[in-house]
């Protein structure tokens, strides 16, 4: 309940700005608010929920509370695919990127699974394979950008993670994927609770680990692929939010997932607003803000363990 009230509060704050622009249709802010801030806020809500839930799912899947959607290389795969599409094929819209991002996410998910041992994959081996592919793919993205810096200007902001490029087309393009991913993810809450006790215990309880893993990976791929296509890889939201929520709700995913879906957009929009305020007259990309805020928090979490 406390979380809910915070959520409404933070959303209200941005909605108030929006409201002023919306009611005074003659004001010069009108266009700014309607064409830029409104879709930006909507995208923040969607991407935030996607990252938060994807993070909570990853942590449950790998039984590692420090896991995050970046861990299995999914964000990196999406980024690499988008970079390739931009550099080689000249794709420059989110509508074009999303398919590449999803494709990249799927390819990397399959690759991580293959490298991580196929059917004998354990959470540990998956995490190692993901970390290795992560390093390779991000170097690749950097290489592509260094070779083609001028034409990849937009991509440069994108690789940091930003909500600034949002318009209604972006929102409409990614919304179905994110909503679909959220539904699949939330449906997995109970079986993942069983899986959290170990594979044998889960089977003894009547859950099917392989099916649950496949469903969860599908949800994470949809969520991360869509969020990455729209905003670029935004770090730490998927890691931190489930961690904060867990302190309130305990490890039960039936609570953890919905709370993460609510709190993560709050954090993301908060960081975005902060970036706008701090960066005046320009702005700081939200990915930079979450990284600057999230880094120390993450270190504290690691140190406490």
């Amino acid at each position: 309940m406390a979380v809910l009230s915070i959520a409404v509060g933070a959303k209200q704050l941005t909605l108030v700005e929006v409201w002023h622009g919306l009611i005074s249709t003659t004001s010069p802010e009108h266009a700014v608010v309607r064409q830029m801030r409104l879709p930006r806020t909507l995208l923040g809500l969607l991407a935030g929920a996607a990252l938060g839930v994807a993070g909570a799912l990853m942590q449950a899947l790998t039984r590692n509370p420090l896991a995050d959607p970046g861990l299995l290389g999914i964000n990196a795969g999406a980024s690499a695919a988008v970079a390739t599409a931009t550099a080689l094929l000249g794709v420059a819209t989110v509508r074009g990127w999303i398919w590449f991002a999803l494709l990249g996410a799927v390819v990397v998910t399959v690759a991580v699974h293959a490298v991580g041992g196929g059917r004998q994959a354990t959470p540990e081996r998956l995490a190692l394979a993901g970390a290795a592919l992560n390093a390779v793919l991000y170097s690749y993205v950097s290489a592509v950008m260094l070779l083609d810096a001028a034409s990849l200007d937009r991509l440069r902001f994108w690789t940091v993670g930003s909500l600034a490029t949002a318009d209604f087309t972006t929102v409409a393009t990614v919304a179905p994927f994110i909503l679909g991913g959220l539904l699949v993810g939330l449906a997995g809450a109970r079986p993942l609770n069983a899986l959290a006790l170990g594979d044998d215990a889960a089977r003894a309880l009547g859950a099917r680990p392989a099916l649950v893993r496949a469903g969860t990976v599908t949800a994470v791929t949809l969520l991360c692929g869509a969020a990455t296509a729209a905003c670029g890889p935004i770090v730490f939201v998927g890691l931190l939010v489930p961690h904060l929520v867990r302190a309130l709700t305990g490890p039960d995913l039936r609570w953890l997932l919905p709370y993460s879906a609510v709190l993560a957009p709050v954090l993301l929009l908060g960081a975005d607003v902060l970036g706008r305020v701090l960066g005046r007259p320009g702005e700081l990309q939200v990915g930079l803000v979450t990284a600057v805020l999230g880094g120390p928090l993450f270190l504290r979490l690691v140190a406490r363990r």
């Binding site: 039984r63 509370p65 449906a187 109970r190 609770n193 069983a194 959290a196 006790l197 170990g198 594979d199 044998d200 215990a201 089977r203 003894a204 309880l205 009547g206 859950a207 099917r208 867990r246 305990g250 490890p251 039960d252």
Partner: protein, 273 residues
């Protein structure tokens, strides 16, 4: 088999990847027994238990539950009949005792059938039966090994299955907690009429608590039956390669295995006591 059996295996070949652990193995768990499987390390006893629990698919042969191939049944259906306490389970960080026990209700719930007063009653009852009721709100991480094992047993009980399989439930516990857990198992068997199957390391415990003993070596069943008849010096020598004498447990009258002293080993043939 003269005794009735709800759970058993016929012609089982059990293997991990290509490593065959047991070939053409057949066992039957007598109904309402406290069956204990013993044998040296790597004899296939835990593998057999996993096959019986449906967590390992046999490479050949059939595990029968109530006369039907266990792999033809739906997961949820099996989970309402047969519970398993695996050797290695993970308690999610920070989970409380009551929440962990409540997860045993999984096979009784569904998307449309959420938490009910019946679930609540069963969870409370399971915690009371295992003596962890007063720990309900404590995090599982903070408990002692013996308490933790009782919590896991409570979770398996909450599953409300008439068959309960336990894979080395006493390993890693000190001797007092081992007896505590085995006494609990015996009580569940006697008072609630459940069929229990446990893999145990300790021969003395097996002989003391089992109503039916299955002795394995190298993936074969060497002997099975009432421990008073099965546990002989010859059998222990054959199964474990341990020369010993058998005396009567002064507390229970069950066979007590006393290993031969080193001097005794050289003194000639082993006699059963």
């Amino acid at each position: 088999m003269t005794q009735e059996s709800r759970l058993g295996g016929v012609g089982l070949t059990l293997a991990y990847d290509r490593r065959v652990v047991a070939r053409d193995l057949s066992v039957a768990v007598p109904d309402r027994s406290f069956t204990v499987v013993i044998g040296p390390n790597a004899c296939g006893k835990s593998t057999l238990l996993r096959a019986l629990a449906r967590t390992l698919r046999p490479a050949a042969g059939t595990v029968l539950l109530d006369g039907r191939d266990i792999h033809s049944l739906r997961s949820r259906e099996v989970a309402r009949t047969l519970g398993l306490l695996p050797q290695s389970s993970v308690a999610p960080e920070g989970i409380t005792v009551a929440d962990l026990v409540a997860r045993g209700r999984y096979p009784h719930q569904g998307l449309l059938r959420q938490w009910s007063t019946e679930d609540e009653r069963v969870v409370t009852g399971s915690m009371a039966a295992t003596g962890v009721g007063e720990l309900a709100d404590r995090p599982v991480d903070e408990l002692s090994g013996g308490q933790r094992q009782r919590v896991w047993i409570a979770m398996a009980l909450a599953q409300q299955t008439s068959l309960l399989l336990l894979d080395e439930p006493t390993t890693y516990l000190d001797v007092a907690h081992q007896i505590e857990v085995l006494d609990l198992c015996a009580r569940l068997h006697e008072e609630q009429g459940r069929t229990l199957v446990a893999v145990l390391h300790d021969l003395h415990h097996a002989a003391r608590y089992a109503t039916h003993l299955i002795a394995m070596r190298d993936g074969r069943v060497v002997a099975q039956g009432d421990p008073r008849e099965v546990v002989t010096a010859a059998l222990v020598e054959e199964v474990f390669g341990l020369p010993c004498r058998i005396v009567e447990d002064p507390e229970t009258g069950t066979p007590l295995v006393v290993p031969r002293a080193r001097r005794g080993r050289q003194s000639g043939p082993v006699t059963a006591g």
